[in-house]
Symmetry: C2
Subunit: 191 residues, 2 copies
Amino acid sequence: MEEELKAHLEKFVCLSNEEWEQIVTYFKRVSYRKKENLILEGQICKSNFFVIKGILRKFFINEKGVEQTTEFAIENWWLTDTFSFLNGSKTDFYIQAVEPVEVMQVKREDYLNLLEEHPKLEKYFRCIYQKAFAATQMRIKFIYNYSREDLYHHFSTSQPEFLQRVPQYLIASYLNFTPEYLSEIRRKSIS
Amino acid sequence: MEEELKAHLEKFVCLSNEEWEQIVTYFKRVSYRKKENLILEGQICKSNFFVIKGILRKFFINEKGVEQTTEFAIENWWLTDTFSFLNGSKTDFYIQAVEPVEVMQVKREDYLNLLEEHPKLEKYFRCIYQKAFAATQMRIKFIYNYSREDLYHHFSTSQPEFLQRVPQYLIASYLNFTPEYLSEIRRKSIS
């Protein structure tokens, strides 16, 4: 199953078998149970997680004590608190398995050594972060500009797989809705 | 003044003089007048802009017809609509000079050729996008979690230089406040 990561790297860079065999040693394959936390608020987010199977979500507990989901990651997506991961600071977030999850995880020191030893992966991570940043710039526009109903429709059109796989209350948490409000919008869309 | 870009690249990678002399040919130094638009909504954002002197802002016209500022860039910051820049799609944004601005700008094809010819710059751009993405992940948390007053205080503590240099109505536009509401918060902070 590590082959999933190899295939993803090879979308951006060519690797020999020998290179891959070295690269994979920097990663650890780990399984998490449904609802298991990979990271808790207050910890240092020491790893970056590449999802091989399942879904992760990232959330924080807001000032009202409610879980606010800020990101999901399905197969072939990376997820971490990048700020905590890079700076070794404590995270404000939780990362949790929405379904049983298999990840390839890489620790910060291993990530830096990996890039040092295999500089061709700089291109891979440059492309990954570039795409992620582009998407987040757009997301900020959506948050400011879209009505709550528009946000739902944009999300359901652009990420139909999430709607199928993620429980309703987590979709509501991502869109900053109450579950009741989400049901109402969905009823309106169907009718 | 191109030396500003050289110094910034050298924070992340070592360059020989010969390399720098080649690299700089991919960039064009351009001056813009105060309030001049570098990019208009509906255009393809063909360049990425590195600010040597002055301030840029990025904004869109929201559904109420009001300018909503989403980003500022001062000296040593990059600014573009990354999605439009990468994909050659039309942008929803404007990029405008807040003050008279000097930039080093690089076109998409030149950016890709530059990385092809000088792969050591992959590390530079990986680090730039990584930091930008980390900051934007945090910003989404702030937008969801902070009261409007907290947003102002966070902004004024983390970016004091902007408060000094950027006109009040643009700070208000960035924080999604009316100028009147911003004045009210400032009055409260001072008293």
